[in-house]
């Protein structure tokens, strides 16, 4: 419950002091409300991963938005990062479609099957030849065949492979609107074109059985640049609000793992969706 700190006003529920989420605008009411447990043992509020692979620094986190925390709803984003023989970093981000009953399950299945495919396919080939779209197909099958009512497991999926060696090439493929960026010279450069619609439109293509072909991107991670895969809980505020400048500054260099999680917890009224981001820095 609330308490007094340094004679200040009664504080909202949650972290205090250096752990207090950074307010980037008008504080949200939802951020100060007590969380409720999500009800799924296998899907905790937050997952955090970090590591160094060759010349790459990796940070990854997926964390419930204030709306799911307030409502006691399970996190519907999923994230997976892994390394392969110190040669590659494999990344997957999935944003379970909010309207689907088992969106969190779809998101986790998609990440699991996509990374499983890449871990199987890559050792026998190289980045240039590996079929990223086949990884999306493997995820599509995994989501569809996991039980009845596959549409209840609808999810976006973005996968990426980054070379840990000196070349640091990367390739990305996705179904749905989960964004990817190159963080370069203090700015987030989108790697996929967004829709320029008059009204905000959360509708997205998704697994299983996507409507549209997969989208692809690729390039080389130059010294000091970072590759960012995200759910739109991070991608939207990064593109449309001061969260972009805040995170670009915070991620100029790889932060410590706990600092990274704290940075994702910024408070900005109405941006209450689940937040997921993977950042892969190339060593300067």
């Amino acid at each position: 419950m609330g308490g007094l700190t340094n004679g200040g006003p009664v504080q909202a529920w949650g972290d205090r002091g250096v752990f207090r989420p950074r307010e980037l605008g008008s504080p949200s009411l939802a951020a100060g409300a007590p969380w409720r447990l999500g009800g799924e043992v296998a899907v905790p509020d937050t997952v955090l991963e970090a590591g160094r692979v060759g010349a790459l620094e990796v940070r990854a986190a997926s964390t419930r938005g204030t709306s799911h925390r307030f409502d006691g709803v399970v996190r519907q984003d999923a994230v997976g990062v892994t390394e392969l023989d110190e040669r590659y970093v494999l990344v997957a981000v999935a944003d379970g479609v909010g309207a689907a009953a088992d969106a969190h399950r779809g998101a986790n299945l998609a990440v699991h099957h996509a990374l499983g495919y890449l871990a199987w396919a890559l050792p026998g080939t190289d980045l240039h030849a590996v079929d990223l779209v086949a990884a999306l197909h493997a995820a599509d099958r995994g989501v569809r065949e996991a039980g009845p009512a596959p549409a209840d497991r609808s999810t976006t999926l973005t996968v990426a492979v980054v070379e840990a060696g000196p070349a640091r090439r990367y390739r990305i493929a996705r179904v749905g609107d989960s964004p990817a960026f190159l963080l370069a010279d203090g700015a987030f450069l989108p790697l996929f074109a967004g829709w320029d619609s008059y009204l905000a439109d959360p509708g997205t293509d998704c697994l299983p059985s996507p409507r549209d072909p997969a989208q692809r991107a690729g390039g080389v991670l130059r010294a000091g640049q970072a590759l960012v895969l995200a759910s739109d809980g991070i991608g939207v505020p990064v593109q449309d609000t001061q969260a972009g400048a805040y995170l670009a500054h915070a991620w100029a260099e790889p932060p410590g793992p706990v600092a990274y999680l704290h940075q994702l917890q910024f408070d900005l009224r109405s941006f209450d969706d689940d937040r997921t981001a993977v950042v892969v820095w190339g060593e300067p």
């Binding site: 009411l29 204030t66 479609v97 909010g98 609808s154 619609s197 409507r211």
Partner: protein, 221 residues
């Protein structure tokens, strides 16, 4: 500071034929005000506007954050039931509000209209044209409309006005208690990633049952 905003327009018939229901509606609006003001998830993302109509239409509460309003203006009965005036004012108001929000760099979601009436318009030859302008597919800010028929309402008219849901009162229960449920369901379903229909429209998750009401068949737009 850019925000994500879902604008709601509550449009209430305050013609004489509604006299028996206005006290319940006013109580319901006060309850909606209290419920939304204390529901952080809805309060953070929504703005509300109250429109009353009879022979003319007027904005009783301009679009605002409900948690910023001390008290909602009450409905009072007047002569006439001019649906056309309500729809014309709505189209002008939504157009202006959305432009204003967008000019402040906000991300605006498709507005929602709750239309409450006993469904006996006194301008039968006029309102359909005004209604068509409100749901014009070429107008990017066209709202989703949920209609509620109250009292001795005309089901055919109420069913025609709701663009994706319409309800008829079965007596006793006022609709305002249902509005918070709708506001909440729409707020969560429009803001998170959503599935899309074959036409590319967002699938909205809203209650298909409302206590004290029966759902009507709605013609797809």
């Amino acid at each position: 500071m850019p925000e994500q905003i879902l604008p709601f327009y509550v449009v209430c018939d305050q013609s004489y034929s509604m006299a028996d229901h206005l006290d319940a509606l006013n109580d319901g609006l006060a309850e909606l005000h209290r419920a939304v003001g204390t529901d952080p998830v809805v309060a953070d993302k929504t703005r509300f506007c109250l429109v009353g109509f009879s022979g003319t239409a007027e904005i009783l509460q301009p679009l605002c954050r409900l948690s910023d309003v001390v008290e909602i203006v009450g409905l009072t009965t007047q002569a006439g039931t001019n649906f056309g005036a309500a729809f014309t004012l709505l189209r002008e108001t939504i157009e202006r509000d959305v432009e204003l929000l967008k000019s402040d760099a906000h991300r605006v979601y498709r507005p929602a209209v709750f239309f409450l009436s006993d469904g006996h318009p006194t301008d039968p030859g006029v309102w359909p044209d005004a209604y068509e302008r409100l749901r014009d597919p070429e107008w990017p800010a066209r709202p989703n409309i949920i209609s509620f028929g109250i009292g001795d309402a005309d089901a055919a008219t109420i069913g025609r006005i709701g663009t994706f849901q319409a309800f008829m009162s079965t007596g006793g229960v006022g609709p305002a208690a249902a509005l918070h449920g709708f506001a909440r369901a729409l707020t969560t379903s429009v803001v998170r990633s959503g599935g899309i229909t074959a036409d590319g429209d967002l699938v909205l998750q809203v209650p298909d049952r409302v206590a004290g009401f029966v759902a009507l068949q709605v013609d797809p737009v």
